[in-house]
């Protein structure tokens, strides 16, 4: 029970570690005690095949693919979970071991559909890779195979249990990183299935649509709900004016989908690719981010003045918002009423922009390219529908879906020239760019809030103290002689830690940034699968993606949202002032408790 609830393994502390000498494949190696055989082999450049293992999740030890021979041991040992011992002699590659691993993979395949060519993960599937590298070349078994319908109740995440190999990575990420505990294994033996509690459809569960289960799944058992068909259809419809917007974090990660090294910024190529695909107008969600900051800073200053509903909780991450509605409904009054940058931009596209261009909003089709599966759900929330019952955001594509569309269209992404966004909602400050990484919303908000509160900009716009690469960060800064306590959390297990402090009153916070996904949007559930040799949740990849955004910010003259000339113009021409009646109607929203109630 304890392990099921709090699955994290206790990783050894680093103080006074003994060194262990052992021999792996005839090669002596020295490693600190508590190292596993798998890790020790890695120091020698030996990659032991594996399946259930994930370096950022607790140990499962279920698949046994990672077995090795250890002298003196009666059975093969699982190298992911066996620690090294002094004098150990390990063989990772005898013919027997290779055969044993191949047998295990064949057993898995016996109960797996033969659908690779038509499968969404063809070419990016860990099971396929493993079968190939272990030399499985035949599928002989024709016996009973598990049969389940596709579970597609959710607007964000779909599930194909026939492709599930029961590695439980999804169960672990949902519990250990997200603290949602939505998934479990039910029944036993042949009937074992991964599912939300009591086999409820995802739509009726506490699922927050974050898509982290998709990211860690080695197969196609979890996927985003596809929106590419609708988007192709809109692009082909001459009556539609198709507007696309791309989230801040897309530019930092999309290149990976085309083999570029992580951290390669690709803003211009993405814009060009979108134009080639046929989008009529290409806007930047960053503009929405700048606008969010101006509205949110205004909201923050009002609350600060009246000393009410503090801390302000940020509201741009739809995974976090749904989490709050299930798990912390009592904190709903604290959440910023600002719609997310995507929603603000979609609303303005069908109002402000439509008016400017004399377009009928009915004929405008808005597509958001997002790092996030939860955005698909957000776009369908009734709060984000127009009066005519159609949504402000018509479709949301994940980064992965856009990568596929670009490939399907036959574009060589890496050779595209850099294009520019359209006006007026394509110009943004660097503050908008950093929205895509953890701490970015806080940094952007503080740049504007401090300038408004003190009448002068921060001397150093780089607020490194709120960049929460470790998942959780608290900081304090003095403004007008008053100390503001702020916190930043990504990954909802981290959010819980901070929110519990808020509830207990242990510390007074003024503003808290919350993002559902580890690392913020750059680690979103719709981002490209990691390149070979890397894992999802790898802090190195997240750091590289974040550095791409910080570099863009650093390289811009315009780094504060409220100085964006097109934002200033938008208020002059249309919204009047932050927090105006029109701004409220168009740019703000509300939340309500959801069931089933989550268990903290």
């Amino acid at each position: 029970m304890r392990r099921m609830l709090h699955g994290m393994q206790i990783r050894g502390c680093t103080q006074k570690m003994k060194t262990i000498n052992l021999i792996i494949d005839e090669t002596p190696v020295k490693v600190p005690e508590q190292t596993t055989i798998m890790q020790a082999a890695e120091t020698l450049g030996i990659h032991i095949p594996r399946l259930c293992y994930h370096p950022h999740l607790s140990l499962e030890g279920a698949c046994r693919i990672c077995v090795v021979e250890v002298d003196g041991a009666r059975n093969y040992q699982t190298s992911c979970s066996t620690q090294v011992r002094e004098g150990m002699q390990v063989r990772t590659n005898s013919p027997d071991i290779r055969q044993a691993r191949r047998d295990l993979v064949e057993l898995i395949l016996d109960n797996h559909p033969k659908e690779c060519q038509t499968c969404e993960r063809d070419g990016q599937c860990e099971l396929q890779d493993l079968a190939y590298s272990l030399g499985v070349r035949e599928r002989l078994f024709e016996g009973k195979r598990k049969q389940y319908p596709i579970e597609d109740s959710s607007l964000s995440v779909i599930r194909d249990s026939e492709k599930c190999i029961l590695c439980r990575r999804c169960v672990r990420v949902c519990a250990e990183i997200q603290g949602v505990h939505n998934l479990t294994q039910m029944h036993r033996g042949f009937n074992t299935v991964v599912t939300p509690a009591f086999e409820a459809p995802l739509m009726e569960s506490v699922c927050i649509n974050c898509g982290q289960c998709i990211n860690v799944c080695p197969t196609a058992a979890f996927l985003e709900k596809k929106s590419t068909d609708e988007v192709w259809a809109a692009l082909a419809d001459p009556a539609k004016h198709v507007v696309v917007q791309i989230a801040p974090s897309i530019r930092a990660a999309i290149g990976e989908g085309f083999g570029l090294p992580p951290g390669t910024p690709a803003t211009g190529q993405t814009v060009t690719a979108l134009r080639r695909l046929g989008f009529d107008t290409v806007f930047d969600t960053n503009f929405g981010a700048d606008l969010t900051i101006v509205e949110e800073a205004h909201e923050f200053m009002q609350r600060l003045e009246k000393n009410e509903r503090l801390p302000l909780l940020t509201s741009c991450s739809p995974g976090w918002i749904k989490f709050m509605e299930h798990f912390y409904p009592e904190l709903i009054p604290h959440a910023s009423s600002c719609r997310s940058p995507m929603m603000m931009l979609s609303v303005l596209t069908k109002t402000y922009y439509a008016e400017k261009k004399s377009l009928d909003p009915e004929n405008i089709y808005v597509v958001g390219v997002m790092p996030c599966t939860a955005k698909k759900f957000e776009a369908q929330r009734p709060e984000h529908y127009m009066e005519n019952q159609s949504p402000y955001t018509d479709a949301v594509l994940t980064t992965r879906e856009l990568v596929w569309m670009i490939k399907a269209y036959g574009l060589d992404f890496t050779r595209l020239s850099a294009g520019d966004f359209d006006h007026p909602m394509g110009v943004s400050s660097g503050a908008g760019d950093i929205f895509g990484t953890t701490g970015g919303v806080m940094e952007a908000a503080l740049r504007t809030a401090v300038a408004k509160l003190t009448g002068q900009a921060l001397t150093d716009l780089n607020l490194t103290q709120v960049r929460a690469t470790e998942g959780l960060k608290e900081a304090a800064l003095e403004v007008n002689g008053k100390v503001l306590n702020v916190a930043v959390a990504n990954g909802l297990n981290n959010a819980k830690i901070i929110l519990e402090k808020v509830k207990s009153g242990e510390k007074t916070f003024h503003m808290i940034e919350l993002m559902a996904c580890p690392g913020g949007c750059i680690g979103g559930g719709g981002q490209p699968y990691p390149p070979d040799g890397h894992y999802v949740l790898d802090p190195e990849i997240l750091k590289l993606r974040a550095s791409a955004l910080y570099a863009i910010d650093q390289g811009k003259k315009l780094r504060q949202s409220h100085e964006n000339p097109y934002i200033i113009k938008l208020y002059e021409e249309y919204l009047k002032h932050p927090g105006s009646e029109l701004a409220h109607r168009l740019l703000h929203t509300s939340y309500s408790p959801r069931y089933p109630k989550g268990i903290k």
Binding site: M1, A175, H181
Partner: protein, 162 residues
């Protein structure tokens, strides 16, 4: 789903959960709580289990995993006549498996299931401590000894006539 806050659990179960909450690692009492609940209600309902999850603050996913992993948890109601076949060693040696087979055929249900009309359910027990009477079948609180497969139809009609 549990939109309602109104309680459906039995007071004694709630009391037991409250008591567990005062101990260390209350979540480790989940199995005992489910046991008590099954003893009291006959089987585990989804509503009850959601409420246990809320009160014990254990994710509902964990409760559903546990309740379907262990054989002894029943997720459907027992029939009006709960037929229980001893599969202890002595009874088994004397042909309990054949009796089970006869009941399954006659009722069209498997072990752990209940007939559609809600009349009969089939389950097994371990040794009842009356091996001298093997093979043994109980229907509700009546014990039948030295049962043969041929007697199965008769046992069923006798139960109904009661």
């Amino acid at each position: 789903m549990t939109n309602s806050t109104q309680t459906k659990l039995y007071p004694e179960i709630i009391e037991f959960i409250e008591e567990c909450l005062t101990r260390e690692h209350p979540e480790s009492y989940l199995i005992s709580i489910l046991h008590k609940l099954q003893e009291r209600h006959g089987y585990l309902t989804r509503e009850h289990m959601y409420e246990v999850a809320q009160r014990l603050q254990v994710p509902a996913s964990v409760v559903s995993g546990v309740s379907t992993f262990y054989h002894f948890f029943r997720l459907k109601p027992r029939g009006r006549y709960a037929i229980s076949i001893c599969l202890g060693t002595a009874c088994f040696v004397k042909g309990a498996d054949k009796i089970l087979e006869a009941f399954r055929k006659k009722l069209g249900i498997n072990m752990g299931e209940t007939t559609k009309d809600g009349l009969f359910s089939l389950e097994n027990t371990r040794c009842l401590g009356v091996c001298g009477l093997a093979p043994v079948v109980t229907i509700n609180d009546k014990i039948y000894s030295r049962v043969t497969p041929q007697q199965v139809p008769d046992l069923l009609s006798r139960a109904l006539a009661d």
